[in-house]
């Protein structure tokens, strides 16, 4: 074995473990991996391998390294940076390990890689000849076939690495990574094609076209047999991967829910315990949290943010936060808020504030909105003490101005129905120009 003196250089930063390199490699990453491990320039190692190849030993050494040294699961960052988590633990890698070799030099490197593989194949053949096997006449087909085998082998390498990356980083959507998968298939086809061409040319040169056909058939039969044998195993592998993925998604969801519960419900419960001497505040906190949780659990995400139902819910929430009490909002139909409807909503808000201030102690305030093709109506009903409408002093602007006046100016109707002891209901309606959505 030639290029392996490897005296450990003293006083260096921790040496990366011996792995075959994934990025920056030309054939199987042996030379670059060795270079990273030893801390020398890859070209030194490559040159040593090429020189040694003339004696055959270089080829054997290279093949041995290829077979024995595991592929690096993680693209290296710089030659000196320590890498290498031995078997990569799940989740230990960053979530989006970039597909290696994704740069613009990909094609060129693939071509050079192919040449490199062919060179290795030539080396193997030279070696065989030295061993006494006369294959000179069939050199070309053998080189082609051997290169095919090498391509397939390298593909197996890559597939394995992909598996590790997928299992770790969760990038396993079949459609989600077109390029690597496409490249994988292309390489597989290339490898098989080289193999078949090699076999055909070899047999054709020996025994005529009949023998070639037989050989092709034999190869196909062998492939089919391989598929039958490996099929169930492959299927199981795919299933296992899918299960793993589903499990990962589930645990991700669990983590999300746990995080949400912690940030919202648990925090509020802690607050409530601290404020337990203030019943009003406790109710307010509990109500606000209930609202937030309901929103999170039941609200369809796609709802328009500028629709009446959403706006009413939001107004009711603000009123509850500012004035306490509970407002139950029921909405039938929905529409987008335009200018007259904005006036209607503001009037409704005033009515809600009044109800929350004066009547919330007597049970929840009912807010009901109905959107009809020609009209939008909002009703705010409380069960509070009520009052004598005629007895409102003229200087009390609340009801008269900010509720009735506001709606009427915008072209709608407003009515307050109440009497002492009967609660109060504010009825607001606004005509609509356009048709219902």
């Amino acid at each position: 074995m030639t290029a392996l003196p490897a005296p450990p250089a003293p006083a260096r930063p921790p040496r990366p473990p011996l792995r075959r390199a994934v990025d920056g490699r030309w054939v199987a990453g042996v030379a670059r991996g060795l270079a990273l491990h030893l801390g020398v320039d890859p070209w030194v190692i490559r040159g040593a391998f090429v020189l040694a190849a003339f004696s055959g030993a270089g080829v054997i050494a290279y093949a041995a390294f290829w077979a024995v040294v595991p592929l690096d699961a993680e693209p290296s960052r710089s030659p000196t940076q320590p890498r290498g988590l031995r078997p990569v633990p799940y989740g230990a890698m960053e979530r989006s390990a970039p597909p290696p070799d994704a740069g613009a030099g990909e094609d060129r490197r693939d071509l050079i890689g192919l040449l490199g593989l062919a060179a290795v194949s030539v080396g193997v053949l030279l070696l065989l000849r030295q061993a006494g096997l006369e294959v000179a006449g069939a050199l070309v087909p053998f080189v082609v076939a051997a290169t095919g085998v090498a391509v397939l082998w390298r593909l197996a390498d890559d597939a394995q690495r992909h598996r590790v990356v997928e299992a770790t980083a969760g990038l396993a959507h079949p459609a989600g990574e077109g390029a690597p998968r496409w490249a994988g298939w292309a390489r597989l086809l290339l490898g098989v094609a080289l193999l078949v061409v090699g076999a055909v040319v070899f047999f054709a040169s020996r025994g005529g076209i009949g023998a070639a056909t037989t050989a092709v058939l034999a190869v196909l039969v062998a492939l089919a047999g391989l598929l039958v044998v490996a099929g169930p195993w492959l299927y199981r592998l795919v299933r296992e991967l899918a299960d793993e993925r589903a499990e990962r998604i589930r645990s991700q969801e669990r983590a999300d829910v746990a995080a949400h519960v912690h940030d919202s419900v648990l925090q509020t419960l802690a607050l409530i315990q601290r404020r337990s001497d203030d019943p009003r505040e406790v109710v307010r906190l509990a109500r606000a949290e209930e609202r937030a949780l309901r929103q999170w659990l039941y609200q369809p995400a796609a709802e328009r943010s500028d629709s009446i139902s959403v706006a009413l819910d939001r107004l009711a929430a603000e009123v509850e936060d500012d004035h306490g009490g509970a407002l139950d909002v029921v909405c039938v139909g929905d529409a987008l808020v335009d200018e007259p409807l904005e006036a209607l909503l503001q009037a409704a808000r005033e009515a809600m504030v009044n109800a929350a201030k004066y009547a919330a102690a007597k049970g929840p305030v009912s807010v009901y909105a109905e959107v009809e093709p020609g009209e939008v109506s909002v009703y705010i009903r409380d069960r509070g003490p009520g009052f004598e409408p005629a007895a409102i002093p003229p200087d009390r602007m609340g009801v008269r101005e900010s509720i009735i006046g506001r709606v009427e100016r915008a072209g709608g109707r407003a009515e307050v129905r109440t009497s002492p002891g009967e609660g109060c209901e504010v009825r607001l309606s606004m005509p609509r120009g356009e048709e219902a959505p």
């Binding site: 309901r294 659990l297 139950d328 029921v330 009912s366 109905e370 093709p373 009903r381 219902a436």
Partner: protein
């Protein structure tokens, strides 16, 4: 069947998987009803209800072992005289509709006050339906004239103008008594209208209703 105004308070079984809720409801109901049993999941509920034969079952919508609808499905064929009132924190449309279509006589949320709940239990025990404002809102939404009714729109798939009126007032927070006063009809008539709406809600083939129900695998 409990006769209306029959002797004694209604006999009630509480079904909820949270013991704290059962205790709270029991306290709130006080002497207004007689709680004869409690259960925390579907199987237990079936056993307790079969053994005690209550007038009304206060039923949580979400239960271990299949949910409130499952309890109704398993009890109703054997004991048709037992009535169910759904009591839940959930306001989600499919929960409400699923439970009603399984056969519950009403749906109230857990924020209801004690006296109101007792009144609702009495009403259900008497064979009437109990609609919260929110349930009335769902009904109006699902039966709204804007939404297309099935081509074979029958009487079942449409609300009469009077029923719509009653639903609207309930959605506005009116009690039955107040609805009666507002529409110048008797409470009895209000109850008849509400029961008719309940029946439509349970039997109608309107697309909105069947879709909600189908999503949950009932029907």
């Amino acid at each position: 069947m409990t006769e209306e105004g029959g002797p004694g308070p209604p006999r009630v079984v509480l079904v909820d998987d949270h013991r704290m809720v059962r205790t709270g409801v029991r306290t709130e109901l006080g002497d207004a009803v007689e709680v004869v049993g409690e259960a925390g999941d579907v199987d237990q509920a079936v056993i307790v209800i079969t053994a005690t034969r209550p007038d009304v079952v206060l039923l949580d919508v979400h239960l271990p072992g299949g949910g409130g609808a499952e309890v109704i499905h398993r009890i109703a064929p054997a004991l048709p005289e037992v009535r169910f009132l759904a009591l839940s924190v959930s306001d989600a449309a499919e929960d409400v509709i699923t439970t009603i279509r399984a056969g519950a006589r009403g749906y109230v949320t857990k924020s209801i006050t004690g006296p109101e709940l007792a009144e609702a239990v009495r009403r259900v025990a008497a064979g009437d339906a109990v609609f919260s404002p929110r349930l009335a809102g769902f009904v109006l939404d699902a039966f709204s004239s804007g939404a297309p009714a099935p081509a074979s729109a029958e009487e079942l798939d449409l609300l009469s103008p009077r029923e719509r009126e009653v639903m609207r007032l309930i959605a506005r927070g009116y009690a039955y008594k107040e609805v009666a006063k507002e529409l110048f009809i008797s409470i009895k008539t209000v109850e008849t209208h509400v029961s008719a709406v309940l029946r439509k809600l349970q039997l109608s083939n309107r697309h909105e209703l069947s879709r909600w129900a189908a999503d949950r695998g009932v029907l």
